[in-house]
Amino acid sequence: MTAATMDWVLIVDDEAMIRENLKAYLEDEGLQVAAFEAVTPALDWLQESGICRVCIMDMRLPDMDGNTAIRILHQRYPQMEFLIHTGSSSYSLPDDLRAMGLDDDCVYHKPLTDMEPLATEVRVRAGLGEDRL
């Protein structure tokens, strides 16, 4: 994997403004962001480009739920790191996701009053931001 491919961040969120705001912030932070409103186009894009290190996944999505999407992505791209960004207050991590290495720190609840912590986490996971921590 090249450094360039490492920069890519995948955002799946059906709420356009959330998706776009996150994309804008992360891009301002110097990251390459691909944002999709559903899982299927995201998978299609991945199949095409095949490059992404970190994925920010919404839970409630039009084609499938975020947990299932993570399972599929993890199966296909075991190297991929996941952050969950959900509007549900009662969300809790399923055990199999925990087994993949996800923990409560990966879960971000909407609304984010400040996107900085999320951006930092993305940078860390993308292997870019150690110097900024």
């Binding site: 709420e15 403004m17 959330i18 705001n21 996150l22 804008a24 912030y25 301002d28 409630r60 509007g87 549900s88 207050s89 009662s90 809790s92 609840h109 909407k110 609304p111 984010l112 009053t113 400040d114 996107m115």
Partner: protein
């Protein structure tokens, strides 16, 4: 013997003078005649002188002859007299002796007659054929049996022998008589005679008589009528038997003992108690027949006390172990008495076995105590009253409430003892009249100037004769409070449910607002390289643009949007706290560490409007060193404590408390750990206190608080941690919030 002799001696004395006087008379007559013859011759001398001398001579001689004869006669007569006197004396003597014998005989006869007539005995005789020949008069007088019924008959013909014993008796008697032996005191019952004479008891004694030649002539003896005696004896025996039967029939112990403990008398019950017969018991010592020495000594000491004092003694209860080892409880009375035939005082005792009564009494007492324990163990106040409202029973809670013991309250009107229940009298009467319970729910009472709630039930008592009612009062203040809390909680939960349902829908737009405003703020900043690059590309001076935005207040409005979004997000988040959560976030938490974290958080909590400055507040730490770990959801409890700290700080700042101080205190209680947040701020009035945990209740200015802080805290502590959150405060005296979390073993281990 001298008296009858006296007349004969007198006779003799009289006899002798007579004889001598006769002789002298004759002599005098002779001498006188001579003298006369001389003197006459003198006077008649002239006429008779020649023959006179002759004549005197003749006469003289004649006189001499006569005198001689006379003397002879006198002598003879004297001799004769002597012999007569002698014979007379002899005769007199004989006569006197015979008279004496006759007199003695007559005296003897009289005596004999007197004796036989006066005696209660009679004399009887029978001939050699053993037939009655003689019966003295007393026989009829005493027995009323005419002698003709008896004379000529044998004794056994006078009696009826109808039993074998009787026949044997008579056979022996007949044998004895035929052997001519003497007998004494043979008793038999007559079977003859008239009504008066029949069935009389006769006692006879007799001995055989013999003539001079030693020939058996029959029997002679005495008899006596002992009918009255026999009857009296029989009556006495019957009376004794009857008394014996009576005392034996009495199931209680009746006994008499002397001072040495010997039984003088005992009834069947007494003997049985010692496992003996009456005969075996009497005359034996109590000490010997009684198996338990200690008891015997005690009882004998009582006996002695009664004997010595001469006063009765009542022993209400004493133990007595019978021969079978059964321990009985006796009630005894001991009375001093002088037994017939005894000079010393003895003791008469009557002992009643009260074991069963005692057991029954104890059972009743036990049952009473048991029931009392039951009603005492009930938390309700129970007051038993009669139909007129006078107290009959109080249980322990009732005693505590009234401050009066059952005994002291008994018989008093319940309204006087329980003024708070005075109004229930009508219910008491109605319950009794209708025969069904009457309930007054949630009656308000004032207890020590606090408002309390009580459920009051009046149950009628219909047990036979014991009518009345029981008033049951339960203080339901706690329950009412819990219920109101539950209403609160339900309210919160419904808020939580509502929030959960709409959170997703609200959070997304809120996210758009907040993230959007953040991006705007970032992208208008002139120090961001990307901004500069874009601005330069399109020819805009970023610095000037920023001045413009500044002057038009656009940054300020943006900040306003952002702040409003944050507040909205906070409300949603708080509302979401009202939903039940799993305990998955629970774990052991170092309490001190957690409190220090919260203090740091509070100190760094930046309030845009500078409503308070945490650095000005003095923090006192009063930690229980024994308390280390708490088992809780750390973030939740942190939120609660932070909330309390912020509230305290805000209140103190608002009121301008001169030396604001907050004390954080931890304590270990028996089943919970206590965290207290105590401030010296303005405190709260009762009205505020009552509503303080209600959702959306706030004393802060509109916009300064969500009104959910304390209700969320309350919810976290009570619902999520099953603990308690309480507050004590008075206006001007600060406030003390107490969090109590249940102690868990895993948290301490």
């Amino acid at each position: 013997m001298s008296t009858p002799l006296r007349p004969s001696r007198l006779c003799r004395l009289r006899f002798y003078p007579q004889a001598w006087s006769a002789a002298l008379l004759i002599l005098l007559a002779l001498t006188g005649g001579l003298a006369l013859a001389d003197s006459g011759g003198v006077h008649q001398e002239s006429a008779v002188t020649p023959d006179f001398g002759m004549m005197v001579r003749y006469v003289f001689w004649a006189l001499i002859a006569v005198t001689g004869v006379a003397v002879a006669a006198l002598l003879w007569s004297w001799l004769l007299g002597r012999r007569v006197a002698q014979r007379t004396r002899q005769l007199q003597r004989e006569l006197s002796e015979r008279r004496q014998v006759e007199l003695a005989l007559r005296e003897s006869e009289t005596r004999f007659r007197d004796v036989t007539e006066a005696a209660s005995d009679w004399i009887w005789e029978m001939d050699e054929n053993l037939r009655f020949t003689y019966l003295s008069e007393r026989f009829y007088a005493l027995t009323g049996i005419p002698p003709q019924h008896v004379l000529g008959r044998a004794r056994w013909e006078l009696a009826t022998a109808d039993s074998p014993a009787e026949r044997e008796k008579w056979r022996k008697h007949q044998e004895l008589l035929e052997d001519h032996r003497p007998f004494r005191d043979f008793v038999y019952q007559t079977g003859i005679g008239d009504r008066r004479g029949a069935g009389r008891y006769l006692k006879v004694s007799g001995k055989p008589t013999y003539d001079e030649q030693g020939q058996f002539r029959g029997y002679r003896g005495t008899g006596t009528d002992i009918t009255e005696q026999v009857k009296a004896e029989t009556a006495l025996q019957e009376s004794e038997l009857r008394l014996r039967q009576i005392i034996d029939l009495v199931p209680h112990m009746i006994f008499a003992k002397d001072r040495y403990g010997h039984f003088l008398l005992a009834n069947q019950a007494t003997a049985q108690a010692f496992g003996l017969t009456v005969a075996q018991l009497v005359h034996r010592s109590h000490r010997i027949v009684h198996g338990v020495d200690e008891e015997a000594e005690r009882m004998m000491a009582d006996d002695l006390e009664v004997i010595e004092s001469g006063a009765s003694k009542f022993i209400a209860e004493e133990t007595f172990t019978d021969h079978a080892g059964r321990v009985q409880t006796m009630q005894t009375i001991k009375i001093p008495f002088i037994a017939p035939g005894l000079s010393e005082t003895a003791v008469l005792g009557v002992s009643i076995n009260i074991t069963e009564q005692k057991r029954a009494k104890e059972e009743v007492a036990r049952m009473r105590l048991y029931l009392k324990n039951i009603i005492d163990s009930m938390p309700s106040v129970l007051i038993g009253v009669d139909p007129w409202g006078y107290i009959t029973v109080l249980n322990q809670p009732a005693e505590q409430v009234s401050g009066l013991s059952w005994e002291a309250a008994q018989g008093r009107f319940f309204g006087d003892v329980f003024p708070q229940l005075e109004g229930q009298f009508e219910q008491v009467r109605q319950a009794i009249r209708l025969g069904q319970p009457i309930k007054t729910p949630r009656m308000t009472l004032e207890v020590q100037s606090e408002l309390h709630y009580a459920d009051v039930m009046v149950y009628p008592l219909m047990a036979d004769g014991a009518s009345g009612a029981v008033i049951r009062m339960d203080d339901v203040t706690g329950r009412v409070r819990i219920e109101s809390m539950m209403v609160q909680t339900e309210k919160m939960l419904s808020v939580g449910g509502l929030a959960a349902g709409m959170a997703h829908e609200i959070n997304n737009p809120l996210g758009a607002i907040l993230q959007g405003s953040q991006n705007i703020q970032r992208r208008i900043a002139y120090d961001m390289p990307q901004n500069r690059a874009v601005a330069a590309a399109i020819g805009i001076d970023l610095e000037r643009l920023n001045r413009y935005l500044e002057q038009r207040g656009i940054r300020h409005f943006l900040e306003g949007i952002r702040e409003a979004g944050v507040r909205a997000a906070k409300i949603v988040a708080d509302m979401l706290s009202f939903s039940r959560r799993s305990e998955s976030h629970f774990g052991p938490v170092d309490l001190e560490e957690m409190l220090e974290t919260v203090l740091r958080l509070a100190a760094s909590d930046y309030d845009l409007k500078k409503k308070y400055d945490f650095k000005r507040i003095q923090i006192n730490r009063d930690y229980d060193p024994t308390l280390r770990l708490a088992y809780c959801d750390k973030t939740e409890i942190e939120q609660v404590i932070l909330n309390l700290l912020k509230n305290a700080a805000q209140a103190m700042t608002d009121e301008g408390t001169p030396a604001p101080a907050i004390t954080l205190r931890t304590r270990c209680e028996p089943d919970s750990l206590l965290i207290e947040v105590i401030d010296n701020g303005p405190g709260m009035d009762e009205k505020t206190l009552k509503r303080i945990f209600e959702p959306f209740f706030t004393t802060k200015d509109v916009g300064a608080g969500t009104g959910l802080g304390l209700s969320v805290s309350y919810f976290i502590v009570t619902e999520q941690h099953h603990g308690r959150l309480s507050v004590i405060s008075k206006p001007g005296q600060g406030a003390r919030f107490s969090i109590r979390l249940p102690l868990r073993r895993e948290a301490l281990s």
